[in-house]
Amino acid sequence: MDWLELALRVGAVTVAFLVLPLLVGQTEHKVMAHMQARLGPMYAGAFHGWAQLIADGVKFVQKEDITPRAADGPVFKLAPGVALIPYLLVLLVIPLGPGDLVGQPLDIGLFFALAIVGVGVVAVLMAAWSSANKYSLLGGLRAAAQLMGYELPFVLAAASVAMAAGTLSLPLIVERWEPWWLLWQLPATLVFFIAGLAEIRRPPFDMPIADSELVFGYMTEYTGLRFAFFLLAEYVGIVVISALTATLFLGGWHGPMAESLGWLWMLLKTGAVAFLVIWFRVAWPRLREDQLQRLCWLILVPVALAQLVLTAWVRVAMA
């Protein structure tokens, strides 16, 4: 019985892992197109191009899998998998609804999520170095500098909400969340979301893959399925960051009729945050490398630290 339940949970998370990123990707196709007064994909699947990403997947599978001769083969081939798996693991601990509607309730789920997301940078460095391409290497170094910098405000902002809730367990954090936290934790929310955007290297923080100067950064040499894995990792990244933001700061499954419709609220909040991620990509230009680091160290880190102090004060005052 236990094994059956475990298999069911892991299966459900895997389905979410495969479906949600495609949904986000398709939404990005369409939303981005309409924001630019275009229509986006219209043909694949007959109705408004709903099957475009499936068609893309088929295309990627058919493409030749090229490993450059000068590349470090094993590392080069391993990197996409290393990029993808951490996000899959993070999805396991994100609560979807009240009760035990979560892949795997972990006592220190938040810490687990933060630790695992941080592993992604190893994949970037692997891909960057093993490609034997200077654009790749430059992109990888930019990515590493960016990820190491933004990891700090990311973790600090998450620590603030963990402190407010007095637990590291994601389901418990959601359970103890109250609407007025929206105001109390607002700086942390903003810091977490911005740092999260930088963690998944989405515009306006896409300096590592800046296509106008670095071809495609650390992904330059990848083709076919391995490239698709990197793309999938990016979109799972959006899902993970959106879901974490919704869980930690927007109250997860809280909402009218949370007992029965909790999962819907969680999905809606995640979707709304993912929409923001797409919107920012369309509306804003890329940050320059120095602006990127300046934003991190001179704005986000101090704000996150101030939020920590504030959280501690309020906690002490309430106790």
Binding site: V31, A33, H34, M35, Q36, A37, R38, L39, M42, W279, F280, V282, A283, W284
Partner: protein
């Protein structure tokens, strides 16, 4: 106003949101035919009967994409003193891979043998097929729109004015 920090960021978001909720301007071309102005320059049509092989078009063509061959024919008119000579068009080709759609040939033609047609869907897989012969050019005649009506406020043409004057004198 633009001095407020983040004003530009907000403006970017506002503009994209406005575009998102307004209709997109994409034309679904192969599914929905484009609405072209009636006198668009798509392809050049030839009315063979009007051509006198004067060669003006071929000579005026800036990139020499009109090829004309002809021979002379004697037409015996009963009752006339001697047979008349007439030019017969053997070949009239326009190479649309060279044509730059300047329309000078149409302007130059004194006998109304060349016309603009708004048809534009004649792309080919082989560049040689872009050389339209006179039969093909003749087919385009069916798509040529009627000439624009005279401006009702405008001065009447010389012929009309003359005809009117004659009618008034009689």
């Amino acid at each position: 106003m633009s001095g407020v920090p983040g004003y530009g960021l907000g403006k970017g978001l506002a503009i994209t949101l406005k575009t998102l909720v307004s209709r997109s301007t994409t034309q679904q071309y192969p599914d929905v035919a484009p609405e072209l102005p009636p006198r668009s320059r798509g392809v050049i049509a030839l009315r063979e009967e009007n051509c006198t092989v004067c060669m003006l078009c071929a000579r005026e063509c800036p990139d020499w994409c009109i090829y004309i061959d002809s021979h002379k024919e004697e037409v015996v008119v009963p009752g006339a003193a001697r047979p008349r000579q007439r030019n017969v068009l053997d070949r009239f080709d326009i190479d649309f891979s060279l044509c730059m759609y300047c329309g000078i040939c149409i302007e130059a033609c004194p006998f109304d043998a060349l016309f603009w047609s708004p048809e534009f869907e004649y792309a080919e897989y082989d560049i040689r097929n872009l050389l339209h012969d006179k039969d093909r050019l003749n087919e385009w005649m069916a798509t040529v729109p009627a000439p624009p009506a005279h401006d009702p406020q405008g001065e009447p043409s010389k012929e009309e004015a003359n005809a009117l004057k004659k009618a008034g004198a009689a």
